[in-house]
Amino acid sequence: MNLKIYLGMLRRTEVTLAESFVEVAEGHGEEPDVYFLCLTLARQCLTHQEKLEAVVGRYGEEASDSEPERLHAAGLSQTRSGPVGLLRDLQDLYLLASFVDITWTMVKQAASALRDEELLAVVAECDSQTSTQLKWLQTRMKQAAPQALVAAGE
């Protein structure tokens, strides 16, 4: 069953997202809300990864499929600085979290078809948190964008 490809992908990207949240927290320690919330959200991602573990036990997990990776969800290895840098970093997190979010949606589709209640429960809990992560990123970016793009020094 190819579901294992998606489960593997999901586990890996949750870890990548967690690492990226930590990276952004540390790179933007001067913004206390970004710092503390990114650390909280990193912990959420790791919890998602753990919750998937039980399910992976049943379906297996594939490190890669035969399809070549075209778009790399590689995560942030380094942060930028300044108001525009913060915006760009949050935007990168948004892209990565969107990738996680849509992957959860696809796993949910499969779980529904399999009538796998356990997996559906994991999806319900984790995906609603991922969706809130996206909402927070959007809220914070919308707040930061006008000042960064219009008023901040070049």
Binding site: D33, F36, L37, T40, G82, P83, W136, Q147, A151, A152
Partner: protein, 829 residues
């Protein structure tokens, strides 16, 4: 005569449940003066806490010489607290007052004319608007101006300049009250009334040291306690406050763990079936999510996290769950701690669970810290839109644009208004270059002061400060504007239970000082802010015209003032809004019908995720179809972000004392008040003191990762492991700078805020304490308050002496009652 420093709450006038709180008229006059010497009495209300006690100012020979409480007012029934009795007038009539504008020349502040000062402001403002645009401008105002002044400032900022960067130090004192009310009920607006004290069977005080922050309200509680059927008292506070001493249950919880305790209380109510199922299904949304959120929080689990006894949690929940009428009051112990909005919402949830809203005695008071904080929230000079309008609702923006006759595009509504700490961050980064501070003192009141001082001192930042005195903040200004104070100008303001009072002008301001309203109107004129037709944006000539304009802005909104007028406010009691055709004399309680302002077209906010502060998208809010139902919102508990460790092993919190207000700009200039609490101190528990070899009065250095203070220790009844510092003590009376022994509590605090209300977290930081010197006497902390020494000591009792004498006239009149106490004449238009 009573010594009202020694006896903060005055004589008892006991009464029973359902009875009327007896009248006691408190009066203080300048030494030697008798009532017969007074030329005239001028109606006002006190601006030294959020209680809003009505008073009359005594005037003799053109000067304020005393004060008395107004017997016929629903708020205070004639009483005044120590700050009202002494600092209200003494704190304004002082030789230190600013009397002329000042500008910075070659690094020094020098006096100048109004024309020069305003000219300099306008030149900088216009230049920045031309070269950088409106986002270069920020305004940081107060919780101490009048309604008319906030409204003028809000219109200038939102329709004249078009900047989202407007906030007040209401962010520091009351933002969570507003946020929690919006999250639960759809809009700001205090559900309960002070009168609920008269009817309740139990009072819960959540992080609210009412005995010191609202002394007259506490007198009302004390009179119920002294009466025939005293209400049960439940207190959540890590300190041994006066409230705790009367408590049936005192939950002295670990700072930073409020939400865990609240989860346990909610869980117990649900587990025992004490909820009102019919009310919940008719009037609320979200019960299942709430159940899930609190499920892990057994009394034992919360006891472990919060450091209190599980039995006490059970008993507190039992009192809440089984009393017929419960009154809840919430303040800074919740608002300035971690997960502030989520914790305050759980208090709302407890009341919703039991359907206890809008009925006598079933009150919910999400309190305010400052006297006029409510008006800043209503008028929108603080990060809200005027009239509790929703920045995400295009119709609301269009209403404002029509009212002001401006292009809707100028009103910033593309993102939430910028909160105070973010404004300072933008100033730090240089994208805000013009900052106008009115009637507040961030150089002492903001967290992490070393950083705030650096920001204020930035040469690139053009700083305007408008105040009564040369505060620590004013010393850093480029332009200082001398403002008229309380009693020197007219205006209205609204207290924490929605009661609107008029404060009339009693005397002339000193020198060239001007009312804040006049200063804002002058700026608007000079900037040529205009409507789409080219008429002046602010055509008002005085406060009454501004009030009439505000009435139109508030019409039809929850805070409807359309039925109030200056005439209606004169003579009678203050009036609780809404006051309109439906409620011609105002409305004591909201939500007795269980209908909440959550309709998507009417609500002030679409709400947030309480853990992260993520905005709930409008479509999602509408899909929930609230239809007048309230939201049971919650969040998972997360531990505070700075926990004690080896290097900084103690938990630090800051707060207030009964004798001072804010940064002492007024109370520090009143002799009896400043004598009662002259200098800074910290409070520590006997066990911690013993371990560190510290005795009463020893000098210690308290350090955090941000800075340090050096002050004497009061060995008090605080929870072991905790250190408390009063936040009032800056440097204006100690050379202006921190010097050798810094004293401001905020040297140590953390820059962090609640994700929803954006209120700073003042009540949780990790610190270490070292003894650096022996005592020269007891710590300069009052013995009459939470800072009372632990155990038997030889610390002399705090007394006021002749300067603190005030008279108490008992049963001077029949107790006022709603609506008879309200002036029925005038008002409607």
């Amino acid at each position: 005569m009573a010594d009202r420093i020694a006896d903060i709450w005055g004589s008892r006038t006991p009464y029973g449940r359902g009875g009327l709180w007896p009248v006691r008229v408190d009066q203080a006059l300048d030494g030697g003066l008798q009532e017969a010497d007074i030329d005239r009495w001028v109606q006002s209300a006190c601006v030294l806490c959020s209680n809003g006690c009505a008073c009359d100012i005594a005037v003799k020979d053109g000067a304020m010489v005393g004060i008395r409480g107004r017997a016929g007012d629903l708020v205070n029934h004639g009483r005044l607290g120590p700050k009202g009795l002494f600092a209200s007038w003494q704190g304004v009539s002082h030789q230190d007052r600013l009397t002329r504008p000042m500008i910075r020349e070659h690094g020094q502040l020098v006096e100048c004319s109004w024309d020069t000062a305003m000219g300099r402001i306008v030149a900088r403002s216009q230049e920045l608007l031309r070269t950088k645009g409106p986002l270069s401008h920020g305004f940081y105002t107060s919780g101490q101006l009048f309604l008319e002044e906030y409204y003028a400032l809000a219109v200038i900022g939102k329709a004249g300049i078009g900047t989202p960067h407007m906030d007040g130090n209401t962010r520091l004192c009351t933002a969570t009250a507003a946020a929690a009310l919006k999250e639960s009920f759809g809009a700001d607006g205090q559900p309960g009334a002070y009168e609920d004290i008269d009817h309740c069977d139990a009072i819960f005080l959540y992080g609210h040291n009412m005995a010191e922050t609202q002394t007259v309200l506490w007198s009302r509680v004390l009179d119920r306690i002294a009466g025939p059927d005293r209400p049960k008292i439940v207190c959540m506070d890590p300190r041994d406050t006066e409230v705790a001493r009367y408590a049936d249950v005192h939950l002295a919880l670990r700072p930073g763990t409020n939400l865990a305790l609240m989860h346990a209380l909610v869980r117990e109510v649900l587990q025992n079936g004490w909820e009102d199922s019919a009310y919940l299904s008719d009037h609320t949304l979200g019960l299942e999510d709430l159940r899930k959120a609190v499920e892990p929080w057994t009394p034992e689990a919360a006891a472990e996290t919060c450091g209190v006894a599980a039995a006490d949690i059970r008993e507190a929940a039992r009192i809440f769950g089984t009393s017929a009428r419960v009154l809840s009051t919430v303040l800074q112990g919740f608002y300035q701690s971690s997960q502030a909005t989520a914790s305050a919402c759980q208090v709302n949830n407890l009341h919703l669970l039991r359907g206890m809203l809008g009925r006598p005695g079933c009150g919910l008071l999400q309190m305010n810290g400052q006297p006029t904080a409510q008006n800043n929230r209503e008028c929108g000079a603080d990060g809200d839109l005027p009239g509790f309008r929703n920045w995400e609702n295009e119709d609301h923006i269009n209403e404002l644009a029509k009212l002001w006759n401006v292009d809707p595009a100028i009103i910033p509504h593309w993102a939430p208004p910028t909160h105070a700490l973010q404004i300072f961050r933008y100033a730090e980064q240089g994208s805000i270059e013009f900052l106008w501070v009115s009637a507040t003192n961030p150089a002492v009141s903001m967290p992490q002061l070393p950083r705030i001082r650096e920001i204020l001192a930035r040469p690139e930042l053009f700083l305007v400060v408008q105040d009564l005195y040369l505060t620590e903040t004013a010393q850093a200004a480029d332009v200082v504007l001398p403002a008229a104070g309380w009693g020197e100008k007219a205006g209205t303001f609204t207290n924490a239970d929605r009661t609107v009072h008029l404060s009339d002008k009693a005397v002339e301001p000193p020198g060239e000082a001007r009312p804040d309203l006049d200063i804002f109107l002058d700026y608007s004129r000079r900037m040529d802010f205009s409507t789409q037709d080219g008429a002046p944006l602010l055509p008002w000539t005085g406060p009454e015209e501004a009030f009439e304009a505000w009435k139109e802005c508030s019409r039809g909104r929850p805070c409807d003032y359309s039925g109030i007028s200056y005439e209606k406010l004169r003579g009678g009691s203050g009036i609780p809004w809404p006051c309109n055709d439906d409620y011609p004399d105002g409305r004591v309680r909201l939500y007795n019908d269980g209908v909440f302002p959550t309709d998507p077209g009417y609500c002030e906010s679409y709400g947030h995720d309480l853990l992260t502060g993520a905005s709930i998208p409008p479509t999602e809010y509408k899909a929930a179809a609230p239809a007048g139902r309230a939201f049971l919102r919650s969040a998972e508990y997360t531990p505070p972000h700075e926990e004690p460790d080896q290097e900084f092993p103690l938990r630090y919190s800051t707060g207030r004392t009964a004798y001072h207000f804010h940064t002492r700009t007024k109370t520090g200039r009143s002799k009896p008040l400043t004598a009662a609490a002259p200098k800074a101190w910290v409070e520590m528990a006997p066990a911690d003191c013993e371990e560190l070899g510290i005795s009463e009065g020893d000098l210690v250095r308290v350090s955090s990762r941000r800075g340090s203070i050096e002050v004497p220790v009061r060995v008090s009844g605080i929870r072991p492991g905790s250190v408390f510092a009063p936040f009032h003590y800056g440097y204006w009376d100690a050379g202006g700078v921190p010097g050798e022994h810094p004293t401001a509590a905020n040297e140590l605090t953390l820059t962090e805020w609640d994700p929803v209300s954006k209120q700073p977290v003042f009540k949780n930081a990790a610190v270490r304490v070292e003894r650096i010197g022996g005592a020269t006497g007891p710590a300069p902390a009052p013995t009459t308050t939470a800072s009372r020494p632990a155990g038997a000591t030889n610390v002399p009792a705090t007394r006021g002496g002749p300067d603190a004498e005030a008279s108490e006239l008992l049963a001077a009149a029949a107790p006022p009652q709603f609506p008879g106490a309200v002036n029925s004449a005038g008002g409607r238009s």
